[in-house]
Amino acid sequence: MSLYFLCLILLAIGIWCLLVKKNLVKKIIGLGIVEYAINLFFILLGYRFDAQAPIIAKDSNSMIMVDPLPQALILTSIVIGLGTTALMVALAVRIYEKYGTFDISEIRKLRG
């Protein structure tokens, strides 16, 4: 249970970073922390203590294994996270090229 609570703290750190920081690169890092917290939560849902990886090896005698379904889901999630991070970094580079800053409070053209 405490592991889930630590996972929630990691999620809170990410959301705090996403809301409070003004630098765009730090916001991207915060979104990465949120993503990893959710991935870790899914992996913890399928985790069992004193179990082994869900692979039949040559010298494995115990059949207690962790749940492979969250791991397969999280592999897809990691790939999508890679794509979104690359898109965000490219957009941040374009914004820096146009406005000369990463600080979102200084980008004046976005005000109405």
Binding site: I55, V79, A86, A90, Y96, E97, G100, T101
Partner: protein
């Protein structure tokens, strides 16, 4: 010092040693994907990281002369076509999509997985070339100081 690009001489010398080891580890992860944890995606990421290592240490001009974005694009398309070929082979030979048409072999051997090994190799080519293309697309963006406070 005629080659001023990239990092210092220490980083370049260590990179020459470690890049081949990282590449070999990636190939091992791909080929043993059905026996141990790993597989096409993880091995492709490791191989792309070995190329990114070269770009970071030697500068992008040196690395992109060997493996430019056109070649990476060709490799990425080749991976997709190879995966489609493996999956369509079952459809044409036996009428079922993704059917295992290769012999299964003895368990825990290297060639014991049928079409999983060719699929892993196709995914490895696709992921490695795609990740490397993402990196060089970000590295080739020319970052200029914009018009500030306009």
């Amino acid at each position: 010092m005629k080659n001023e690009q990239g990092m210092s001489i220490i980083v370049k010398r260590i990179t020459r040693i470690t890049v081949s080891l990282i590449f070999l580890f990636g190939v091992y992860i791909v080929l043993h994907g059905h026996l141990t944890p790993g597989g096409g995606f993880a091995g492709g990421v490791i191989i792309a990281l070995s190329f990114i290592h070269v770009v970071l240490a030697f500068g992008k001009d040196f690395a992109l002369r060997r493996l430019n974005e056109k070649l990476a694009s060709i490799f990425e398309s080749l991976g997709a076509v190879l995966f489609l070929t493996v999956s369509l082979l079952g459809l044409f030979l036996a009428g079922i999509f993704f059917l295992n048409v290769l012999p299964k072999g003895k368990p825990f051997n290297l060639l014991s997985s049928g079409i999983i090994l060719p699929s892993n190799i196709a995914i490895f080519i696709k992921v490695g070339a795609g990740l490397f293309m993402i990196f060089i697309a970000l590295a080739m963006l020319r970052i200029t100081e914009g018009k500030k406070g306009e």
